[in-house]
Symmetry: D3
């Protein structure tokens, strides 16, 4: 998607220009990993015109492998972002109707070829929400990955407003999530998609719900999640947790004053976790600390992409919040 | 529509921001007249969100009466403009699929109320091209206008690529054009829409074709047109002609070096002609001179809207091309 | 007035451009109400040139009824704003000398016609400060309003430096304020304009002073005021209070970190209060909460105008300061 | 003065920012000379605030000696410039009413001290037009210069609209011009200020009129002038002429396509002429060629100031119009 | 190199920001070809910091294969460009002293691996000018290419000021040029590098000189060149010629009014020629027409890179200079 | 140096433009003092081109006396700044290799003439770090100052990475520092440059170390220092201390939320201290309060220069942190 944002804190009614970046759940994850020298292939569909070409070029700049981008359809999906401050919330207006991604065909992609040599396939709950063909394409990809031994991670990102193509998320998502090894999932996601409620009197609602999610989806080995406390549009607190079926892991809470950009931190989190999981040789606590630190740093970077280095994430994950000038 | 343009001469692949203006055939005509203190009501449909609201506010700023704007649908139509220079052409990419205008309902508008007290109703050939409901709405408006004694002007603006909703322009346009008093029409329009070809050996192809158009559409009393010679993207020549069934009127040719903005001059022309026709008390030659001078000046104004004063148009229509500094 | 501000936090000596907005006490109030679909007519005077025209167009964009704007005089009033941060204060430099408003003539306005059908007439103490003719015009308007049964609200906005045309505010303001139904007034205003001091030992200085103001001005039924604690240029606390002759109403204190724009909150407050007073059917407490929330949100919007929605104000007035991303 | 201009070709009604430069007839001449390492002292008056300080700093940046700038009065004079193109003229709106220069006091300046060691004193016809005290100050300066043996140059810059302080230019200017050694003067200036008309049947109207001006003003030893042909706002032709009482000198005509900035070329011309007159050891033809080339180059520089080097002017004066890339 | 340019036509002394693009002779050629879907590998050296990384990302965006970029050294080479107009020339200031390219080591590159599968190796005369190690690296590359059967093209780009590392171009260049199959060479290059002068009385100086160059360098099969006539900084004429040892081929002259960017057209020319030579199956005339049209279009694109499509070049090469709006 | 910074919070990899300011330790001190009407001469060396000229013009704008700037060498030193926020640190990349300052010649400056009439000579530890000739030049200047009775202040600014020309700071700095009357010095500087460690068990490490520094450098009469606590890139705390050989003076701690610009506060501090020392007639406590308040305000000003007024500093030094709007 193209992301269009008024400069500074201008409201939509005031602005006379839009700053352009590009974005999208899976693209955000891919870029974050590509920045850290992980090879990341992005599979999507853009229109066959100079706007679609500009989108590809932008992704390529940040190191994403663009070989699985397909061209066709009518238009590039857009979204408009208005930057809030203090008690005024940031606002997002989506303009994705019939964009080239929604109208892709499942056989636009030869998943066996695309997934050749891959370690992970990642998708978010936004993709199957957009259209029947997007959901079908996602399912094909997931199944192919599973068959090929490629691990699957899923961000169970339930956005109620998006599901308009005929079937409900409850009908579609479980089949997809069941194929995943790792998922990002919160208490309300569990209820919305699986009808799972925490057991009454449970010490931890999240742990209780996730335990049931794992029972329902036996392939899922690890569930991660972030907790955000929104004190104002400019000031949030952020922490993370993980559950591996036995233990709940937790991180410190990051105090995010002076938020520069509120969007994309969920994608930064899972990208960070996946990176850390490999980097720290499957140490869940360290991977979680890395993932949340990555998400925290995302709030300081303009645009959806988490353009920070491994060193910067490690420093913060290690507890150094000083932001001391680097000469 | 929202018009998004890279600043200066940047190509789509280079730009990191878009300058925002708003545009649209009928809006362009309405704004031009509103600038000249003619009351102009614009009937259209925008989405019910802050982007739609921003569009209304922009039109209102330039004096358009926004009372006939309806709210609903999914999205605001967009178009992207890349500014060319010399041998590199300017480029337009439309993104209107399923915009709020295309999906309007014919009964969104109470034409009797909207047209109350009006002198003219104006539409362009782009409107019926967009969707069945847009075509129906246009036809209802035109017939109501006719019934109420409101004169009708039509810009027979045939854009082949736009007609995708099922019926051909040849099936739709004639019924609409027949209701008009004044039309903007070129030789190729006559062929494309009516199958009319200039008589062989005619002294003037345009006159010959227009004579037949008038025979076919007896309500049409006056046809106007511009002739553009494109020497480069930065340098055009522009003149105008009119035919009232008897005489052909012509203007001088305006030499347009240093084109600032190539778009919207057709709308500036008909707005200028309609204004001049009233201002000069139905003197076709003077109205035509005014209309072409208005179109020529449009090339010096950024955006689709022809933000020039009556005095500026008169000065140029009177032959003063000096552009002498005004202190 | 045109408001000229260096971008970002540049000082006057550093800047190479000014961002342009338009402003003015009564305009700010009118725009805030117009945003909320209240019909608001703004009576002022701009120069008869393209700069004056641009000012009108800007006000019209935000929905103000421009039919009572008069054209004449020499120049548009200006003011320059430098944006402060932390311990460095924001700075305002006025450049209003002999602007078109100061030199208006009392008979430029036919108040009976302008006020036809109005509920409220609002003015600020800045208007009579500017020139003798401005003071006279204001008095005529106020008296006409009173005669017609139009309620009057006044922001007793005493700016010592402005009063330079011959008479003192103590000679001029009381006659104006006495006509008002609602006023914005603080303890120091009461002393400066009426020589009123709180009774010694009074439990509340403000209540004591306002009680005396009401005795002096029997038409005044309600007095409102804000309290601001300035911790730094970037961080203020803001609360409100009202007195109806019997009770003092108070609001919570809003914590305003990350101030985007310091100016116009007084106008946002009275606009909010007047809107809330009607909206909540004369519930003073709710109107006051709404007014202060509106003023608090103003600090997040660039420019003088309070471009926020009723929903946004209600959310904050209801205690939700979370600024949670709206998708 | 501060010069405020919309970026690019935006009209006043479109712009949302102004680019800031500073300007003024005498300042323009002073800056041009300072760029060429001539010591130039600028005597003017700015307000005692950060805007006035910013003006001084801007002049100082370009090398003007700011020691004779006085501080006081109410406001800095402004002017707004809208950049035209092709047939649309550039537009200037002055906003100088009661600026700090108009309200200066003749004894703000100790001319004997300021002129100590100077070769030339230069003034333009705009200064005495602004106010009685400005005219008096100018006369004092001119007389002091004369007394001290400092040569005087005057640009007889008659702007009818400016003369509003009581006396006519015909009453004021002759006494000033009579003190000058060199003047810039055109045929219409001669008529407007001295009532001088070219002799009927004269071979050259300008020569005929200037001969009479010299008879009227025996101190004047040299008169220079430019001829501009305005083909469009983007395309002018410019040449120069000089008369020393005996011969008329002429330059080639410079073809100015692609005008970047139309303003300040008259000041660039006289600055160039004065520089060249000294540089070429009183060779009038060479000085004239240099002055016109400087004026021609001014059209390629944004803002009023002629920021070009001696080498650039010499190259063009020598006939090299190639604009060949310099690496 | 990073290219830093004031926006618009600001002079260095006026600007308060630089627009950033990246550039360099071989990079320009590579990007042009990459835009046209030719795989192009760029071998260079950037510093190991975020500035060097930004340079790589920029090249990658436009499709260049960045796998042969090496990291090390102290700094990225810079150059500053000031945009001229009309008689004021554009100006380039190089700042390459000890940049990471100059200080590369010949064994930073494994040419056999880099050139594996390549059709052409291209270099410009700027590379060997910069330092001894750059010259050695270039020679190694050229010899390896030759050995591997990779064809070599060379732009004999003699910039006198650059040669400062000890040996003269006459000592260094012939050995390099002799390895080339195709070269870009003008009459003065032939004299400067080989001491070759056109035969007296030759019908065509260029043909005469090139014939001798070919005798001197028997591997060179084709020589191409452009002719530029600089009417002003804004207006040039450009044509091309080629010599294959037998015939001289010539193109029409392109009239380049309204030059947007003067730099990079030589690189656009050779890239266009090489592309056309392949595309038109070794038809020299067609390749030459394509190359010159590409160079002509380069003047309409901001920055060094020739971001135009094959279709755009073909249209112009085919004689269509109309720049007609593309919808 | 020229300082190049992406606008807002863009990272180097995201930016498409750099905002330009100029900077440098001694220049920063000089500008701060010049702003406060202290005559300050800056001795440095810039390249002889338009970039060097632009640097001089920028310094001159802010009132620095540019008469001791020399021209020559290859290039202007640069540094790139990326603005951090919250946990993301700001980043500086220096690009000074072989800049015109590093390659100056000691006899470029006639110190007797430059220091004529001066009260103070100030240098920082960065100057001798850059090159042998810079160190020699600094030593000559310091010795000349001492001989002429000009007091010397030194900022012992040890940046390990810069010392690359052959000798160690321990070999070079002591001789320089010994000539100084006042120095800025921290505990780690004392160890790094003199090998001085605080006495074990000392009540105050800094006092203990500084006492030894004074023993080692008997000319040094006063040592000042700042303490910074970095809570995040956006939030620091800052206080100051001074030691006159007998007493340690301390200031309150300034809470710096919302840091606009992190760089240059050390220079602002010593400039403020020197100004205050004179202004408050050698009252060390008051001078220290002024110096730290100046440094605190620096964090609110974009660029390296501390563009704040004496009044602003005094207000903050007096404890008023309110940042209350100034009208």
């Amino acid at each position: 998607m193209m992301r269009l944002m008024p400069p500074g804190f201008a409201r939509f009614s005031q602005t006379h220009s839009f700053d352009i970046t590009y974005a999208g759940g899976e693209a955000n994850v891919g870029i974050a990993l590509a920045q850290w020298d992980v090879q990341a292939v992005h599979a999507t569909r853009f229109p066959q015109n100079d706007i679609g070409q500009a989108a590809t070029m932008y992704l390529r700049k940040f190191g994403l492998d663009a070989s699985a981008i397909r061209y066709g359809g009518e238009r590039l999906g857009l979204y408009f972002v208005e930057n809030g401050a203090n008690a005024r919330a940031s606002q997002v207006i989506y303009d994705r109707l019939n964009d080239s991604f929604c109208t892709l065909h499942p056989d636009d992609f030869d998943w066996e070829q695309i997934l050749q040599g891959a370690d992970w396939f990642h998708f978010t709950g936004i993709t199957p929400a957009l259209s029947e063909s997007a959901a079908e394409t996602c399912l094909t990809a997931v199944k192919t990955a599973r068959k090929m031994g490629v691990k699957v991670s899923a961000d169970v990102n339930y956005r109620k407003g998006l599901w308009r193509w005929g079937r409900t998320p409850q009908e579609v998502m479980p089949e997809l999530v069941e194929q995943a090894d790792f998922i990002v999932c919160g208490t309300s996601n569990a209820e919305d998609l699986f009808g799972i409620l925490p057991k009454e009197g449970a010490k931890s609602n999240w742990e209780s719900a996730m335990r049931q999610v794992m029972e329902r989806c036996p392939n899922v080995k690890l569930i991660v999640d972030t907790k955000r406390k929104s004190l104002s549009a400019s000031h949030n607190e952020l922490s993370g947790r993980a559950f591996d079926g036995k233990h709940v892991y937790k991180t410190i809470s990051h105090d995010l004053h002076h938020i520069i950009d509120r969007i994309g931190s969920g994608d930064a989190f899972i990208a960070g976790f996946l990176y850390g999981y490999d980097y720290y040789e499957h140490n869940v606590q360290k991977a979680l600390d890395f993932g949340v630190a990555a998400a925290a740093l995302k709030h300081t970077v303009e645009g959806d992409f988490n353009l920070v280095s491994v060193e910067e994430v490690e420093k913060l994950a290690g507890g150094d919040t000083s932001g001391r000038l680097s000469r």
